[in-house]
């Protein structure tokens, strides 16, 4: 554990050194990240110009859900930035280098691609949540902060598990490039009140690709109860996190065993 912590520190130092080469670009990236997320916020704001409620949820509530979603998403984007895993590690053969080292392969791959600027999104998300918390006149219990941290961690692990599993598909298949953007789009569904979707999509979002657990379900715990009462599922967030990440990691480990190198 201690060894992994010091490794992480070394990778971070490395990251800062490379990053300082393109200093101005750092801020452009932070800004473009925020703009991307701001776009979704603009969407919500414009939509509520035309309707008072969305599936029984008010504007502040939907924005609150979005603010919550931004927190785990920022952490996830910082530590699981492996969008080009297949291309960089499998096709170009860099995975061979990773395997010659004693630390766990996933840990190395994640740290080599670490992307801390994405954390700014988490801060902005937390601020958005705080503002909506105030707007909605919610009561703050001392336990809420603790619950919030657990939910955020659970959500990060759900994300991490799904993307680890997806990246691991590269070990089994030659051209898996199409799947990651697919998931990237499905996650959009999980941010809005799930009751607006039809039964099948709702089931998929809750139990198969549980993106509802990174946004609307845990966030609803803090809000006024709704007709479909999804808040009662909120406590399952950390459990889902553990299960999904466990599955992802298992798929990864099986994949690594099968890996034979690209032979370039």
């Amino acid at each position: 554990m201690l060894r992994y912590m010091s490794l992480m520190l070394e990778y971070l130092k490395n990251y800062i050194k490379t990053r300082l080469t393109y200093r101005a670009d750092f801020w452009v990236e932070v800004f473009s990240d925020l703009l991307g997320q701001g776009m979704n916020l603009v969407f919500i704001l414009v939509v509520f110009q035309h309707t008072p409620l969305l599936g029984g949820w008010s504007q502040s509530e939907v924005i609150f859900v979005y603010g919550f979603f931004m927190v785990p998403f920022g952490i996830f984007s910082s530590f699981f930035s492996i969008w080009n895993f297949s291309e960089r590690y499998i096709v170009k053969g860099e995975f061979d280098r990773v395997l010659t080292r004693p630390a766990h392969s996933l840990f190395q791959v994640l740290l080599e691609n670490i992307d801390p600027p994405a954390l700014v999104g988490s801060f902005v998300g937390a601020i958005i949540m705080a503002v909506c918390w105030n707007d909605l006149g919610l009561v703050m219990h001392w336990t809420d902060l603790f619950v919030l941290i657990i939910f955020v961690l659970g959500a990060v692990f759900i994300y991490g598990g799904i993307y680890t599993g997806l990246s691991a598909i590269s070990f089994f298949s030659d051209s898996p490039t199409g799947i990651v953007p697919l998931m990237y789009n499905i996650q959009n569904y999980g941010r809005y009140p799930v009751n607006i979707y039809n039964k099948m999509i709702r089931f998929v979002l809750t139990w198969m690709l549980p993106f509802a657990f990174v946004g609307v379900i845990p966030a609803s715990y803090f809000l006024a109860p709704k007709d479909d009462n999804i808040a009662q599922l909120a406590m399952l967030t950390p459990v889902m996190g553990a299960i999904v990440f466990g599955i992802g990691l298992t798929v990864w480990n099986i994949g690594v065993k099968r890996y034979r190198g690209a032979g370039s």
């Binding site: 670009d25 991307g36 603009v42 414009v46």
Partner: protein
């Protein structure tokens, strides 16, 4: 000379054809996106008949045609150009007896043709089967729309070329490219039709080139804008096409003075 350029279209088209399998997953991704927004808009409409001049049926059609148009005009010219600037191969292209930027545009068009035939058309057919899309019956609407689509492609490519050329001046324009993608999606009207934007924001949009890419043609296609105003739309598109040429020429001239290759 023209024959050389046409060959670039053909070559890119054939290259895309070789990797066509990746595009089948693209159709699924677009269908999923359209689905997400379809349910969202359905919830937004609720019991209301029309919003901002769109009936729900028109809105569904708008979503389908806008996303499918995006499938056609979207290209990675910005990334292409930035990569060639960074690895230095642009220097060789510059001394060849053709115009580098026109070659890029032709390659983009080859990709566009591919996407039109193997992505947009089958995608639209599939989307029409899944969602209640109502296509126009008037053939002149189709013809007009196709003409506008050519301008959509040209204007979007101009924006891409501009973003790509920035690599001459800022070394790493990764963040900038991401920012441009987000802005084009939001301001062109793929995510929200411009008519939904509140007053001041809407009037800013009418002074930006983005609406000419998606919103104006799609509004004609869905019948939100009557066909009699098509001439006006063409005029706006043509004006932007001309105006955007100016910064491109200026940047290209300046770039040739200050090309320096990083690594290479």
């Amino acid at each position: 000379m023209t024959r050389v350029y046409i060959d670039f279209i053909r070559m890119r088209f054939l290259m895309m054809l070789a990797y066509r399998v990746n595009y089948y997953s693209g159709i699924v991704i677009y269908a999923i996106n359209i689905g997400a927004y379809y349910f969202l808009w359905k919830a937004i409409y609720g019991a209301q008949e029309t919003l901002a001049g769109f009936s729900l049926e028109q809105m569904t059609t708008y979503l389908a045609i806008s996303w499918m148009a995006r499938a056609f005009y979207f290209n990675n010219l910005d990334r292409d150009i930035a990569n060639e600037i960074r690895d230095g191969s642009v220097a060789i292209q510059m001394i060849r007896p053709y115009n580098y930027l026109i070659v890029k545009l032709m390659q983009g068009f080859g990709e566009g043709l591919f996407r039109f035939m193997l992505f947009m058309i089958p995608g639209l057919a599939i989307v029409c089967l899944i969602f209640p899309v109502k296509l126009p019956t008037d053939l002149t609407v189709w013809a007009t729309y196709l003409g506008m689509l050519v301008f959509s492609f040209l204007i979007n490519s101009q924006l891409n070329i501009m973003t790509g050329l920035f690599a001459f001046f800022v070394e790493n324009n990764e963040g900038l490219m991401r920012m441009k993608r987000v802005m084009v999606d939001l301001f062109s009207g793929v995510i929200i039709p411009i008519a939904f934007f509140p007053g001041w924001l809407g009037s800013i949009m009418t002074w930006l080139p983005f609406q000419a890419i998606t919103y104006l043609p799609s509004a004609i296609f869905t019948g939100r804008t009557p066909l009699s105003e098509a001439g006006h739309v063409f005029l706006i598109q043509f004006a932007w096409l001309t105006v955007l040429m100016i910064p491109i020429v200026i940047m290209w001239r300046a770039a040739r003075q200050r090309l320096f290759v990083q690594g290479g």
